[in-house]
Point group: D2
Chain length 140, copies 4
């Protein structure tokens, strides 16, 4: 399997003991937390923290998620988290992610999520032009 | 250390792989989830599910928690969860818990939590008489 | 989007307060725990608990996971968990899952995972015939 | 209630959306993860990462934990994590913790954990002199 083009890292984290399971590696459920870090830090670095988006009335719940676990992450590993939007539509956006072991750059896991854009009352809401532009800022 | 008097079980759960850590036992952070099950099921069995309490305007956030881990819980163990209120004051209540391995009754963990009674806007709120009575229903 | 054919439920769970997030619904990271329950209970009901598979030297780590969140699950909801193997190869197996609100059968989330078959030392290991047969037991 | 003497911060973390619950604040179960960060980073900063302790044959499982939640932590808050050993015995050690909102230093939660010292086969093991000295390094 060929490695995908490298996304730029937006955050680093360190694996907790609580993240491991009795197989001696990070349990599969933990990685979705790391994807959240990836998209949150991408947004923060573009000046639009997700917290602010919610205040403006744009909620972005996850509607689909995909994870491809390639190599196990282990206790105390430092992990580089890369996340970036790769597709934006009228009222949805897709983020892609790569999680790499910081020590050697090995790809541990890659994945993507899609998000609906909702108003606080749960109705589908179109992105305003400035958000559409924001999500198109990093063409791959 | 002498074992405490046995509390009646209110629920059973089964240990997930995701609950274990690389020591091969359930990680310490998981048990607070199990305490929630203990108090929720005690309330449900007395006809006052916590969900209903919140609808009535009584929120019971945890203000203090204590856990004494006695024996490790392991993957796929069935655990008996016991929880019951043991002290009620004007605007707070204490729950005590015991987690036992169902197979042999061995006490895995015991603990307690205290809860404030708040209104939805976050102000301290006295329990109404019927809730005080409810929490006094099971004297130890 | 048409609903997929219904898989038989293998377990029920109840949503914890700890499973929710500030959007007032179950957070997306929780569902991968529920998929584990789906495959574990399917295996248990066929007489081959995963714990026993590990003792026999067959480890089944998740190598890929997919989740499609359709409707939000909420605090205290009872959820029917369906999981079943749908493809088996020489050294891998795919499970599919459906999570439905027990009260009305509404599909909350569907997903799938693929699993490698490894020996305890981490090498790819072919399923023995009896496991291949087991995983083929429920043709869709 | 008087505030305890301030412990020096050893790490910072940022609250995830996945850490919150439908009360709009961080759920109580999350804080035990943060205590792990506190003791792990204290050890790392003294040149003895916990990972290395385990390699040397010293396991330090949590045997007791206590949490006092003072103020709610909220989504996207930056939290200063302080942890330090405060009592060391022949084969056990106690850590104390403080979690403060970085923005204003407000104490969100304080707690402590006690840890047994075990060998890899699960037997109680005395600390060697260098570990006893390490844990006594920061008298309060």
């Amino acid at each position: 399997m060929t490695a995908p083009p490298k996304l730029p890292s937006v955050a680093q984290l360190r694996v907790l003991y609580a993240d491991t399971d009795q197989m001696g590696v990070v349990n599969n459920v933990i990685y979705l937390r790391w994807l959240e870090i990836g998209r949150a830090e991408w947004l923060r670095q573009r000046g639009q923290p997700y917290k602010q988006l919610e205040k403006l009335g744009y909620l972005l719940p996850v509607v689909e998620a995909h994870l491809r676990y390639r190599e196990p992450a282990r206790y105390d590993d430092v992990v580089d988290v890369a996340g970036a939007p790769t597709e934006v539509r009228a009222a949805s956006v897709k983020f892609e992610y790569q999680l790499r072991r910081a020590a050697d750059g090995v790809l541990l896991c890659e994945g993507w999520t899609t998000h609906a854009c909702l108003s606080p009352d749960g109705k589908v809401r179109r992105f305003p032009p400035e958000l559409t532009s924001l999500f198109q800022a990093d063409p791959r």
